[in-house]
Amino acid sequence: MLTRTLALLATAALLGSALGALVGWNVTLQRVPVAVMEAIEARMVGPEGEWNTCVHERQYGPLPRVARSNPDSMVTRIAYDLSAGSLRLRGKTWPDYWSLSVYDQNTDNVFVVNDQQIEGDSFDYTLVRTSDVSVADGSQKIVSPTRRGILLIRRFVVSEADVLAVHANQDLMQCEITSSPLRRLPP
């Protein structure tokens, strides 16, 4: 009897350990992407905490210290925090390849649009926290599933000869936090 009880207890302990390990592994898997995003955002905003600021990569070619960066692109980066309102982005696309992509705090690429999917060569998007937030006329809404995240604009640059034109394209961009999150009034 004692042997059987001990065996049952041992089995229960083993199953409990296995279940605990499984839960722990799942929690780790869930936590990793968030930790990676937090680390990238901390680097992007710096000690001044510059959230919602367009940071333009001005150099063409290989960049030191940026993991897996694409030397054929010149990127604009924005670490966003929608606590203070919505983030409106306006500017011109870039003809060889241009895309605007949004990554939520879980690293998911929740939105992407490229220049071939936009009518004309201008863009106007507003990143909002929920779908019921109002945006300016003519601006297209992007809903971020999380309050914080990262937005990237990629431009494919064929050669060094394009760099000044890319700088001009970057300088045309406007990035601004609009007023506090407005919600559409119920009808």
């Binding site: 799942n26 780790t28 898997l29 869930q30 990793v32 992407p33 990676v36 995003m37 990238i40 070619g61 290989p62 960049l63 030191p64 210290r65 940026v66 993991a67 897996r68 960066s69 694409n70 030397p71 054929d72 060889d96 390849y97 895309s99 992509s101 990554y103 879980n106 690293t107 998911d108 690429n109 929740v110 992407v112 490229n114 071939q116 599933p145 990262i150 990237l152 494919f156 064929v158 050669s159």
Partner: protein
């Protein structure tokens, strides 16, 4: 390994964690397809102590690029010509349409990608296909990828 869910909210926890550690802020597979090579055609690890000839065909995609990274740091290998990649617009194609890139620690004629000099450090090659054609996406598992031939060590 390929999954159409990579980079999207539909990815599994394991896929998401793997991408977050290996290449965060990549585009979803609807926009860009990524391939990584860690080994040559004979299954040997890519190392700076060998020279390699990479040969491929054009891809049916808006543009593509092949970039070399130090496998340990995941950043570029510093070199005197400041080159870490070749892309579909910059590369010259042979008469039959193929292209060739040489990986070596010594300067090479043609499309050269430098690696660490006199070193055994590992490197990898990342192929990006931006805006792949619908057929390219459909046939992604059987796509003719570049060959990586070890020339000498």
């Amino acid at each position: 390994m390929y999954s159409g869910k990579v980079g999207s909210p539909a990815a599994s926890r394991a896929e998401r964690a793997r991408v977050a550690l290996g290449g965060p802020l990549a585009l979803s597979s609807e926009e860009t397809i990524y391939f990584i090579a860690l080994e040559d055609d004979e299954g040997e690890q890519l190392t700076s102590s060998c020279d390699y000839r990479i040969t491929g065909q054009p891809f049916d995609t808006r543009w593509w690029s092949l970039t070399l990274y130090d496998s340990d740091t995941q950043v570029f290998v510093p070199n005197e010509i400041n080159r870490a990649s070749w892309n579909s617009r910059a590369i010259e194609y042979a008469a039959e349409g193929s292209w060739t890139v040489i990986v070596s620690d010594e300067p090479q004629v043609g499309h050269w990608l430098p690696v660490h000099q006199q070193s055994t450090k590992r490197f990898d090659l990342l192929l990006r296909l931006y805006n792949p054609a619908a057929e390219t996406r459909r046939s992604v598992r059987t796509l003719a990828l570049p060959t990586i031939e070890r020339v000498q060590c």
